[in-house]
């Protein structure tokens, strides 16, 4: 057992030694030559850093403080409190954080959180205006809004929202896009064969699974959604659904054993999937998003991310399909086929790893467009609830009070820079993949 593991490690090392001329590392070398793209990538790391450590960058609570001989880490502790594992002593919610007589304290660089209301500097105080502050540390470097929220803190919180939207919506889109693109590209119209008798079995199983998992349990699920425990009930529902599909699979195996029913026909997977892509592309995405979020009323960031993911996978699928249509005719795939490997094994172990790099292009442009989409949505006041600060809803505050140029300049600039960074990375990848 032990030796096997070691052997595998060595094999991996040898493989990674060869990596130097793999398509990925070649592309990496070409990408490195494009300085704009490299700097964009570095800036992206900075954005990730801000998004991940947002609470340590802009917070009214100190990162570390010593009070009456006791040491506290209030920012860290807030995570525990949010999880219900801890609670604040009375004095921490009786007094504001800047009122304690600390023996030692380290405040975050921006001593406000996006929700802190600075009553003394309300009513759109500009960055260059006179501010009522006790020391320079408390200056609102990017101004405040009508209620006295610090714009700089809002920008930090907005970075987190934007990154979250970009990454999660594109993860959903990548999952769907890679799956469908791989099926369409690898199998094309000619290589996917299926027993015609198993098609009605699968359709029936889908319908019955849907019925028993979700419709017959609809009341249980809706009550769970109201009173908690939805995750568990949903898990049971998915188990039932999976079981129905498993039964269908067993039934088709059984059918395959009967010689009279054992036939195979070609399923034009490529045609079906590409038609779906075209149909989906013809539906105006922004209008759809706007209507769905409007109808659902209680919009949340996750609904917005899910919808963006569900409508923006087509680009990824197309990229991957085109790449796989090329790869599947290469000799090494042919030889894998000749060795008798199953289609799925060839697809996942041999074809897909070599086809995934171009998908990065589609993903990085996709992140840019979904950040843009979300900020346009929250600019209009839809989608994400009031309590989440986004660049879009900061920017929309500038419309109400034209004098507040800082509310227009900074959040809009942040959207612009982020979108440009992702577009530049996408450009860089495109050029790196082009063999010239």
């Amino acid at each position: 057992m032990f030796f096997k593991k070691k052997q595998k490690q060595i094999a991996e090392k040898i493989e990674s030694g060869k990596m130097a001329n793999s398509p990925f590392s070649l592309m990496n070398q070409r990408f490195r030559r494009n300085r704009m793209a490299v700097w964009s990538l570095r800036f992206l790391y900075l954005l990730f850093f801000v998004a991940i450590f947002a609470d340590f960058i802009a917070n009214e609570k100190p990162v570390y403080c010593k009070l009456d001989g006791k040491v506290y880490f209030p920012v860290m502790r807030q995570y525990l409190v949010d999880l219900g594992l801890d609670h604040w002593e009375a004095r921490f919610f009786q007094n504001d954080w800047d009122e304690h007589a600390y023996e030692a304290v380290i405040f975050p660089p921006i001593p406000y959180s996006s929700k802190t209301i600075d009553g003394k500097n309300r009513g759109y105080t500009g960055p260059f205006d006179e501010q009522k502050i006790s020391s320079l540390r408390y200056r609102h470097w990017l101004g405040t809004d009508n209620l006295g929220h610090d714009v700089a803190a809002g920008m930090v919180s907005g970075t987190r929202t934007a990154m979250l939207v970009g990454i999660i919506s594109m993860s959903i889109a990548s999952f769907i896009g890679i799956l469908l693109g791989a099926l369409a590209g690898f199998f094309g119209d000619d290589r996917f064969r299926m027993n015609p008798f198993s098609i009605p079995i699968y359709i029936g199983a889908l319908l019955l699974g849907w019925f028993y998992a979700f419709m017959a349990r609809g009341y249980v699920l809706s009550e769970a959604a109201r009173e908690g425990g939805l995750a568990k009930e949903l898990f049971i529902s998915f188990l039932i659904f999976g079981f129905a599909l498993l039964l269908a699979k067993l039934a088709t195996l059984f059918i395959g054993k009967i010689p009279a029913l054992n036939k195979k026909v070609k399923i034009p997977l490529d045609l079906i999937i590409m038609r779906t892509v075209e149909v989906l592309n013809s539906i105006p995405g922004f209008l759809l998003l706007l209507s769905i979020v409007g109808v659902l009323q209680q919009g949340s960031i996750f609904v917005v991310m899910a919808i963006i993911g569900l409508i923006r996978w087509t680009g990824i699928a197309r990229f991957l399909r085109a790449e796989l249509l090329r790869i599947r005719n290469l000799e090494y795939i042919e030889s894998a086929r000749a060795m008798g490997f199953s289609n799925l094994r060839i697809l996942f172990r041999h074809a897909l790893p070599n086809a995934l790099t171009p998908v990065l292009i589609a993903i990085s442009f996709g992140v840019a467009s979904s950040i843009l989409l979300e900020s346009a949505l929250s600019f209009l006041g839809f989608g994400i609830g009031e309590e989440t600060v986004t660049w879009g809803n900061l920017l929309s505050a500038a419309r109400k009070y034209p004098g507040a140029w800082w509310l227009a300049l900074f959040p809009g600039g942040a959207i612009f820079v982020t979108v440009t960074v992702f577009n530049l990375i996408g450009e860089g990848l495109t050029n790196a993949l082009r063999n010239d």
Partner: protein, 486 residues
């Protein structure tokens, strides 16, 4: 091959190509319409109450009043064809009756559905709900002397229409029972209807048939369903009635479409006028400083969010705040309502300047990039070298030999840019307060005026599909390879 047979071959190829593309029309519109229709079912609130504007049940005091309110509601529901099944077929469990849509009040229908989901015995539940209504009528038609004694009954009775949990229903029944039997005179009037209600509810519990909930049932409703009526009205150009001001949606859309088209057509024309020469020039001077600056500049322009630029232009150049009120502010100013369209456009011109810029520049950036790419591609071909070798002037080489061949992807872009611009102009219209389609949609969502929202969404899909189709036709006309089926 003679010339005529070649032409026939090309026509048949083009015909099959186009029918192939038109075939896409149907699934797209089907999906868009189903999405829209599904959304309309998801929308919260009662569409009949939205349509009526006020709740006819809100002011009910006595039995005739109640019956009248029910009548008003029924008529409105019939007019909106909400008294019909939702779709061609339904896929539910055996426990649900195929006549559930006959319960008109959305709230009561939802209660009935939840009761069925628990007990699965529709006949008993129907009897219970019937008895509940009977009880309400009896309570409403009490003589005046007893009405005040019966008022504590009203609230739990109304609550019973919403309650579906056994515990709460039993509590409410006990509450009502206490009031009814405390007063002997009241008991004489309400005793028997109350006992009936209680017995009917007991029957729901005792004669439950949860097994029926586990048997799937598919029911066919035919074409007399809500979706069918909605989509056939849409095809006929009847988009329904706005629930906000009771005007036909078509009447609200027509002026909105005018302003949206005014902004978008001028923006796209402007974009093409600038971007075609720009793209051709920078492709002809590929690698020069001019090319590099335009490429970087256009890339930046492409990444600039239009709603940011719109907001900045609005606050810096239309307000006196910064001493630069060069342009007219949001809105259209005084537009003569009865004037012909060109006069309307003329009077709104100063207000349209900034929005047109905001729609133009992203399209400009996109088109220029495409034109440049297409031209670079063409200029690298052998026949351009030949043309140069022949001693033709550079101008002739670029425009006559190069540009002509780069033209077909450029023309096809015209059709695909258009739908994108319309969707993108939603935010611009809202920023600059232009009463176009986007502005209308935005307002309609805020007012929960769903018929308008759904009509715009459907129109948007139709426009997009038509745009794609037009671009395909243009492509087929300009590119001989398509015509000859290669």
């Amino acid at each position: 091959m003679s010339i005529t047979s070649a032409r026939i071959a090309s026509l048949t190829h083009m015909f099959s190509y186009l029918t192939n593309r038109i075939a896409l029309f149907i699934p797209t519109l089907l999906l868009a319409s189903m999405l829209t229709f599904g959304l309309s079912k998801l929308a919260g609130g009662d569409p009949v109450l939205d349509y009526l504007g006020s709740d006819p049940f809100g002011t009910v005091t006595d039995a005739p009043h109640l019956l009248r309110a029910e009548n008003i509601y029924r008529r409105a529901a019939h007019k909106l064809s909400l008294d019909r099944p939702a779709f061609y077929f339904s896929f539910t469990s055996q426990a649900y009756p195929d006549t559930l849509h006959k319960i008109l009040l959305k709230q009561r229908r939802e209660t009935a559905e939840k009761l069925i989901a628990q007990y699965g015995n529709w006949p008993q539940i129907e009897a219970y709900l019937h008895s509940l209504r009977n009880m309400e009528i009896e309570t409403r038609s009490l003589p005046d002397s007893l009405a005040s004694a019966a008022t504590p009954v009203n609230i739990p009775l109304q609550d019973l229409y919403i309650d579906y949990k056994n515990k709460t229903i039993e509590n409410r029944l006990a509450e009502i029972g206490q009031v009814v039997f405390k007063n002997k005179k009241l008991a004489a009037f309400l005793g028997s209807p109350f006992n009936d209600l209680k017995n009917k509810y007991a029957a729901v519990i005792s004669e439950a048939t949860p097994g029926k909930l586990k048997i799937p049932a598919v029911r066919w409703h035919g074409t007399g369903n809500q979706y069918h009526i909605w989509i056939s009205n849409f095809v006929k150009g009847n988009f329904g009635i706005s629930t906000f001001d009771q005007r036909p949606v078509t009447a609200k859309l027509a002026p909105a479409i005018f302003w949206t088209l005014a902004v978008n057509i001028s923006a796209i024309l402007l974009a093409f006028l600038i971007s075609v020469p720009l793209g051709v020039w920078s492709a002809a001077r590929k690698g020069s400083r001019f090319d590099k600056t335009t490429t970087v500049g256009l890339f930046m322009l492409y990444s600039l969010p239009a709603f940011w630029i719109g907001t900045m232009l609005l606050i810096f150049f239309t307000t006196k705040e910064y001493g630069m009120p060069f342009f007219a502010g949001p809105g259209l100013g005084e537009v003569p309502s009865a004037a012909p369209w060109w006069e309307k456009l003329w009077s709104a011109m100063p207000h349209l300047f900034l929005p047109v810029i905001c729609v133009t520049y992203p399209a400009l950036a996109f088109i220029t990039r495409q034109v440049r790419g297409s031209m670079v591609n063409v200029l690298g071909q052998e026949y351009i070298k030949t043309a140069r070798a022949k001693g033709l002037s550079e101008k002739k080489v670029i425009w006559k030999h190069g540009f002509r061949n780069a033209l077909s992807p450029i023309i096809t872009m015209l059709a695909s840019v258009f739908p994108a611009a319309i969707a993108g102009s939603v935010v611009i219209e809202v920023i600059f307060n232009i009463p176009g389609m986007g502005w209308l949609t935005y307002g309609a969502i805020l007012q929960k005026d769903w018929p308008v929202v759904f009509a715009v969404m459907m129109l948007g899909s139709v426009l997009t599909v038509v745009g794609i189709l037009v671009s395909d036709v243009l492509y087929a006309i300009t590119d001989p390879r398509v015509r000859f089926g290669k």
